[in-house]
Symmetry: D2
Subunit: 140 residues, 4 copies
């Protein structure tokens, strides 16, 4: 499984005041929101965002996620969130890198892993359904 | 329309760290979360919480809300949130009072107004459906 | 007191997936986040955002807010949030209007009222401190 | 380094409506809130919660966290969040286990790692400051 990203998307955002905690930095749990914003941008890029997933008969819940915090983001800062699809055949693994938009300095990195679950039966798929490969233009 | 509450419920909570902003007080928008916790306790008390509403064929979206902030709540404090049902015939109006649990000092007050919307048609009801009066034991 | 806005700012956003509730609409409390995003844009426009406020020796907590919900926003929709400063002499009152970006249809409206509080003493000011008028270019 | 917990604390909670997403399960990012509630209970148990940390001259930001989702929590369910302190000498590592309160079925597990940072200098400590061992009654 290559770590060369199959697809990539980036967004820029400025952390809102309500995301900053009393230590004057973004509360750590809010980075999962920023990951989601970049992930949705990535998924939209190949036509398989939340609404498309559901229309295809699958939910793709997150089953595993990790976040490593290198430097804190603060109010007034502009940050860049880059999401990279690195696995797709059995599950979707997306890597994230958050950097300061101005300096490029690394702030946070992490990943999410999602698996397909049948919308109607709730059964988890251990191989990604064909629709994902089709959307990516990677089906056999 | 009397302001004598038809039903009342109270909860106590201690604001979590992630609800506190960089001014070291609970971020104002989080009080709508606390209102909701008390509202659900109130609604459960007469068997008409979110899941019951939906089972009865209606959503009850909030169409109007107001919050007045008198004193700020802080991390480490215990607060009491009291929800009082004051209108029910055409809409549900619930008043809220948040006080410091120890001193009784008033921190925040407000209200929410909800109306019944048909789950399937999306049509808004201008009179509360009979199920609400039945649940309250107040139907004619 | 005129309702002619002294200053105005607008932002566009697409509600993130994590802001949508199980009724498939944006949870009502999240609109206070959208108000804040537009308010900060408005305040930045005349150099008096959160960090400037604090540097000037004042906090400006929200003491009163109201939201009226006309139509629900959904995932995938683009919304426009317009914030208008309508009072400044004794307190800051900002009106908000949220519309569907494509159709212009009204979704939500509301206001926030903020008052100056001395950062060090915690004393509330009943007249806005001179810095606000200076920033607005409206001082006598 | 033993995995035998040095300290443990549990809380029970019922996920609020505003934590549930449009797939009718708790949005994954909200579990970091539940982790925090249990962590604060754990820290309070030996007198070293957020306010105590700060009074001791240190912040303890989270530098690494992981969450694995086994089963989804839903509205109406009561869940139990157990936090276990498993490392303290160089950093604090806390493990979490979320179970259905009624059946004991595993829902989510994960960990957080925190390191001491000097409040005034912002310098990260590579060995936990003596205050932590003292609070735990484990100092040499």
């Amino acid at each position: 499984m290559s770590t060369q990203p199959l697809r990539q998307a980036s967004i820029e955002l400025s952390p809102p005041f309500h995301d900053v905690d009393s230590m004057r930095v973004v509360w750590h749990g809010n980075y999962l929101r920023y990951f989601e914003l970049a992930r949705c941008e990535l998924l939209k890029g190949f036509g398989y965002d939340y609404l498309d997933m559901e229309a295809s008969g699958y939910f793709w819940p997150i089953v595993d996620t990790r976040l490593k915090f290198v430097r804190s983001a603060r109010y007034g800062q502009t940050i860049r969130v880059c999401a990279s699809l690195v696995e797709w055949e059995n599950r979707m693994k997306i890597n994230y890198l958050i950097t300061d938009a101005a300096s490029g300095e690394k702030l946070t990195e992490g990943y999410t892993i999602q698996v397909a679950v049948h919308k109607d039966t709730g059964v988890m798929e251990f191989v990604s359904p064909p629709i994902l490969g089709q959307k990516l233009g990677l089906s056999a």
